[in-house]
Structure formats: C-alpha cells, structure tokens
C-alpha cells in the first residue's frame, strides 16, 4: 500500500502487472467499504451481520494483498467463521422474534458519534499525511514458522496477555451460564 503511494505521479496502465494489482487492491477495499456500509446503515440486524462478514472477507483480501496468506486465512476462519457467526447467534439468542431491527439512538448519539468520527478521521489523516512513509523491505516470508517464532520470542508478552483476555472471556461466559436456564 505504501509502495503504491510512493510511486511517481504517472499511474501505471491498467493492463500492466502493477495496474492489475492495483485494480485488485481497489476491489478488496471496495468490498471492505461496501460491507462496512451495509453493516452500519442497514435497518435489519441480519443484514448488518452479513455486511460485517463481507467486510471481514474484504479485510482478509487486504491481508492476502500484503503477502501474508496465513493471516488472511486465519481472518476468514476466525472473523467470518467464528466472530460474525457468534454475533449472529447472540442476536438470535437475545430476542427470538423474527423481526429484528436497528433503531435510532438517543438525541445525543448523533452529534457525539459524528464528532468522534470527525476527530478520528482528522487524526488519522494528519497521521497519514505527516508521516514520512517509507516502504519496508519484506522481513519474513510470513510463514507459520516465522509467525510462531515471533509469538514465542519477540511478542511473547503480548501473546500471553491475549490468552489472559481469552481466559477472562471464558470465565465470564461460565459465570453467566452458571445461573442455569430456569432463572433467565
């Protein structure tokens, strides 16, 4: 992505290799934005979940574009296959009737959300424009060995912290489920 922006102004032809790669990149980005738009604007919760799954798929495409197929496939497996399914499941559990909709929030929700969005966008834009981007040389092949080595050496603390978060989530689920079905 950075290398694309660093190239000189003359944009490559569509039928050259770079042009085709750029087209694929635009396609994945379009999928992400399309899915995100559905997820945020749709009136029905089912469609929101479906849009979220589409956005996750697009993000997997971006990972693949960044030459890490392992991360891309894990993204598909975990985010499309587990996270969005679990979200859908939670929505189903929460209210069994078939007509589920999203509703307008309170009076404050709009302005606060909008200003948060503007601030976030501005911050990211400033960051993106001020930073001296330089194309990193590709460090590893992104294979499982390298990912595993990195997890257990350089990033072992982060890795352990993530597992603690997951453990807490499991304990929380158990605490919630311990009350049994009769009292819910």
């Amino acid at each position: 992505m950075q290398t694309l922006f660093c190239q000189p102004a003359a944009s490559p032809s569509l039928f050259s290799a770079e042009g085709f790669v750029g087209l694929i990149f635009l396609l994945t980005i379009t999928i992400v934005i399309f899915g995100a738009a559905i997820a945020t604007t749709s009136k029905r919760l089912v469609r929101c979940v479906a849009g979220l799954a589409v956005a996750f798929t697009g993000v997997a495409g971006v990972y693949y574009f960044l030459l890490s197929p392992f991360v891309a496939m894990m993204q598909m497996l975990i985010y499309v296959g587990a996270v969005s399914i679990l979200i859908a499941f939670a929505v189903m559990m929460a209210s069994p009737e078939s007509h589920k909709g999203t509703y307008r929030g309170g009076v404050l929700a709009g302005p606060i959300g909008f200003s948060t969005g503007v601030i976030f966008f501005a911050a990211l834009s400033i960051l993106g424009l001020k930073t001296e981007w330089q194309a990193f040389p590709r460090q590893e092949t992104g294979s499982i060995e390298h990912v595993g080595m990195a997890f257990l050496t350089t990033y072992s603390l982060v890795f352990e912290l993530i597992s603690i978060v997951l453990l807490l989530a499991i304990i929380g689920a158990l605490v919630l489920a311990r009350r049994g079905r009769s009292r819910v």
Binding site: R47, A60, G81, I85, A88, F89, S98
Partner: protein, 338 residues
C-alpha cells in the same frame, strides 16, 4: 513448476464439472444406498438402474418456479443458496488428486479448506434467518451451535496431523504417508512414530465424527430434522434454491471425504508398495468414505440436539485436546531420543 494462469483455470473448470457430476449423482447413490439398506430397490424407473434419475430431478427443479415467499428478506434469501455452493466448489481447488494432478501447490491448503468451510455455515444461518419462518430460524440456531461446537475438535485434530507432518500443505501431508498402507496416519502398526501408533485411530474417529456433524448429516442432521422442523433452513426454498442447498451438502461430503482420505489414508498412495499409486486410488478412497457417510446416515437414528452438543463439548473436545498434548509430548521425546 508450471506457473501459468491457465492451469488453475482449466483445473477449476474440470473440478467444477467433477463437483457438478458428484453433486447430482451422489443423490442417486444415496437413494440407492438407502433403498438397499432398507430392503428396497430405490430409484429404478428412469434409465437403467435409475441412473438417469438425477437428470430428471434436475430438469424438474429447474423448471419449477423460483418462489420468493412474502415477508422474507429478499436479498439474503436469494444469496444463501449460492453461498452454500460457492465454498464447497472453491475448496475442491485446494485438494490435490495426485502428485501431479492438482491446480497449483498451495502452501496452506488445509487452512484454506477450513477457511472456506466456515463460509458455508453462513449460508445456513442466512438462509434460515431470511426465510422468516420459525422452523427455519430454529434450524439456523441449531446448525450454528452445532457447527461451532464441532469445528473446535476438528481443527484440534487437524493441528495434531499438522504437528506430525510439519506442514499445512495437503500434498506434503499425503507424500509423507507414501509407501504402503502401514505408513498411513491412521494405522497403529509400524507407524512412523510412537505418537501416531498409539493415538491416531482415536484421532481419526474424532475427525470423522466431526466431519459427519459439520456436513449436517444424519445422525447429526439437526438442521433439517424433518420430523420436528419440516426441512429446517430449506423449508421455504423450492426449485433450484433447494437444489443448490442439496448440491452444496453433497459437495461438502466430497470435500470431507477428500480431506479424510488425504489426512489419514495417504491420499493417492496405493496400499501396497508394488502396486502403482495414482489418482484412481484417491477416487476409490473418497468413494469408500462417501459410502460410509451414506451407510451411517441410514443406519443410525437422529440424536437430540443437547446430546449432540454434549458429545462435542464433553467428550470430543477434551479427548482431542489430550491427543494434541500427547502428540506434542511424544514428538518432543522422539526428538530427544533421535
């Protein structure tokens, strides 16, 4: 290695033809198998031995009206059957049929197949939910909880295989088992390692149970329990919408059988070293496994949903985790000894 783009494209066309033929004629196989297991004949009128029955069924399904009932979520209702079919066909591309008969070497083909299989679950969920029918909704909820429960032991079992073989490439995994049936990962005698000799049959049982459950087949077909839920997520679908769901189901069986054959039965390897290996062995193995799927379906009655979930969470997951741990320990011990 030939890296031309045409090879994958041609292979994709061939695989799609293979998938279509399988999806159609496995229906015939299933009806014939069911018939003979229940002391009936099965389809016999259309063509010799009823062999043209799938064509007749296909024509019937395609000429029927594609009905979208009132009150359904139009887009998702139409998308769901297609979504059931796409991952099943696409994951066929990752499967190597023999040492030379594959689209292109994919380094992470095991992972690719599981990543695609996770989309197939979305199809049942969306189809069931978009149908605006309480049977469909219950079916979707059941199917999702079942798939989530059975994906975990299945993936853990696959991780043990990946640990043993040191590769996520299906071709590499199959190549490591070549040279006779005693080298296959399933067989406890004279295996390549102690770990494999002791625990792989259990591992195979877990994997096969999970693949039956993942493909929503009886005795685990809670999603379309016809005595309780009419046809589950397919209740509101007629014509080719239903047809695509059915074809997706059969293709998932084919993919499951291919995976089992490669992971546990040596892929295209012949059982005895002096018989040449080849794609025929692979096809023979997958059809034997598919026959086992059909055999199980028409032999065992359907379980109940809570028994099904208990089986996964209380038996399969602990066992598969123990197997994973044991395999790691054995591999470590062997590493020290050798």
């Amino acid at each position: 290695m030939d890296t031309s783009i045409w090879r994958p494209i041609l292979y994709l066309i061939g695989v799609m033809a293979f998938a279509g033929v399988n999806a159609a004629w496995l229906g015939w196989c299933e009806r014939k198998g069911a018939g003979h297991i229940q002391r009936r004949i099965g389809p016999k009128e259309v063509g010799p031995y009823g062999l043209l029955q799938p064509l007749a069924d296909g024509i019937k399904l395609m000429t029927k009206q594609l009905l979208v009932p009132q009150g359904v979520d139009g887009i998702l209702f139409r998308v769901a059957p297609v979504l059931a079919m796409i991952p099943a066909i696409t994951s066929m591309v990752a499967i190597p049929f023999s040492a030379t008969f594959h689209a292109r070497p994919i380094e992470l083909s095991v992972l690719l197949i599981f990543a695609l299989a996770s989309i197939g679950m979305m199809a049942i969920l969306l189809g069931g939910w978009a149908s605006n029918n309480k049977y469909s909704l219950i079916s979707a909820a059941r199917s999702v909880s079942q798939n989530v429960a059975y994906e975990i032991p299945m993936l853990i079992t696959v991780i043990t295989i990946v640990m043993l073989s040191g590769s996520m490439n299906l071709e590499e995994i199959a190549l490591q088992q070549k040279g006779g049936f005693w080298n296959w990962y399933i067989f406890p005698i004279a295996g390549q390692s102690i770990a494999q000799a002791i625990i792989m049959p259990v591992s195979f049982l877990i994997f096969f149970t999970c693949s039956v459950a993942e493909t929503n087949r009886a005795p685990f077909d809670m999603a379309e329990a016809e005595s309780e839920l009419i046809a589950g997520h397919m209740t509101e679908y007629g014509s080719m919408g239903f047809g695509l769901f059915m074809m997706g189901e059969y293709l998932n069986i084919v993919v499951g059988a291919c995976l089992t054959a490669i992971l546990f039965f040596g892929g295209w390897d012949s059982p005895l070293p002096f018989i040449p290996s080849g794609v025929l062995w692979f096809v023979l193995k997958i059809y034997l496994l598919i026959f086992t799927f059909i055999w199980i379906r028409w032999t065992y009655p359907r379980t109940q949903i809570y028994k099904l979930l208990n089986l996964s969470w209380k038996i399969l997951i602990p066992f598969s985790l123990a197997i994973l741990l044991l395999t790691a320990v054995f591999i470590k011990i062997e590493g020290i000894l050798i």
